[in-house]
Amino acid sequence: MTTESLKQAQPYWNPYVAGLGLGLVLLASFVIMGRGLGASGAFSSLVTVGVQAVAPNHVANNEFYSEYIGGGTRSPLKDWLVFEVLGVFVGGFISGLLANRVTKVVEKGPNISNAGRLTLAFLGGGLMGIGAKLARGCTSGQALTGGALFNVGSWAFMMMVFGGAYAAAYFVRRQWR
């Protein structure tokens, strides 16, 4: 084997195998912790800490932020979801490293500039942040976790996510194709 082929990115796993692994991690979280997975909540803690550093009174008077402050006895960053999301970064990096898939790249279709793609990435992230907070969770906390627990709101949410994405897909097709 040459060094060239060693460095080549390996193909991704079969989706059903990866999905089984993901499901077992979710099950382990239920069994060990009595709660599911999450992602967006950790960033709410991060935002709250940022806003608090600049305007502490503003945070105290805002019901959304104050929920993430907790009792005030410990840092909002010493939080279960914050640690879990740190793990997500690490786990993704380990998997990518083992398969030679850690690459500095902008993922996009051939018909859009880097600047265009990054602008849409920021915009999409912004919508995601607002939507996830309104829905009390994102794809991890609602669709995956709530889906596995038959949570009524999570199933309604999941249908809407697919509905919204399919409805908007036509308008941003130049970004991907």
């Binding site: 990866a18 999905g19 089984l20 499901g23 077992l24 991690v25 239920f30 069994v31 060990i32 912790m33 009595g34 599911g36 997975l37 960033f43 935002v47 806003v51 879990e84 740190l86 970064f89 786990g91 993704g92 990096f93 998997s95 990518g96 398969a99 850690v102 690459t103 790249v105 902008v106 993922e107 990054l118 990435a121 915009l123 999409g124 992230g125 919508l127 995601m128 942040g129 939507g131 907070k133 309104l134 829905a135 009390r136 994102c138 794809t139 991890s140 995956l144 596995a148 627990l149 038959f150 949570n151 009524v152 199933w155 949410f157 809407m160 996510v161 919204g164 399919y166 897909a169 097709r173």
Partner: protein, 199 residues
């Protein structure tokens, strides 16, 4: 031994953070294995060319669903101790729609963007900044949307409770639906691939 372990006091808050890190590592590992660090692959779901998102998501959901069901049937796990997010139907429907649009515009969801960022995807990093900005915007407008945020409350409620169908039967039906969906997804992918080959 009884699950959930944390709820039965098997370990305390500090150990729970170690568990969080370990569970997160597993989560991130399989997200990357599935190819979810690539916005192109994720977005392809919404153009029917690559339905990996659907396949991975529903395999994960039915795996955990069947696992939870059997562990409670054999008395190993007390399902009532597993946290269930209360349902507020209307804000979740609108939030889901906004999030869906954000998914195809941005190319990621929050969890997958973490994996994208840590494997060097610059669009994933910028997307994460967008998420942080979006949450900040939500926090700032919260006083204006707070009454909508708590509207149509239904409490902690599940499909078995609302439909009156037995839990096990619903597990069976969802697994059946998922398997049908997988067969359909494979068929659609083949169809799209041959269409592309012709063009």
């Amino acid at each position: 031994m009884n699950a959930p372990f944390f709820k039965h006091g098997l370990f305390g808050d500090d150990v729970s953070l170690v568990m969080a890190l370990l569970i997160g590592i597993g989560f991130g590992f399989f997200l990357e294995r599935a190819g979810f660090n690539s916005s192109k692959k994720l977005a392809a779901q919404f153009y029917f060319t690559d339905l990996t998102v659907f396949k991975v998501m529903f395999t994960a959901i039915i795996t955990a669903m069947v696992g939870v069901y059997y562990l409670s049937v054999i008395g190993f796990m007390d399902l009532s101790l597993v946290y269930l997010t209360p349902t507020f139907l209307l804000p979740q429907i609108i939030g889901g729609l906004i999030l869906g649009v954000g998914f195809v515009v941005g190319g990621y969801c929050p969890g997958t963007s973490c994996v994208a960022a840590s494997t060097g995807r610059i669009d994933g990093m910028v997307y994460l900044l967008g998420v942080i900005f979006g949450i900040f915007v939500f926090g700032e407008i919260f006083p204006l949307v707070s009454s909508f945020y708590v509207s149509t409350p239904m409490g902690q409620i599940t499909l078995p409770q609302i439909s009156g169908l037995p839990y096990g039967l619903l597990v069976f039906l969802i697994v059946l639906m998922a398997l049908g969906g997988f067969a359909g997804a494979e068929w659609v992918e083949k169809k799209m691939a041959s269409k592309k080959a012709e063009a």
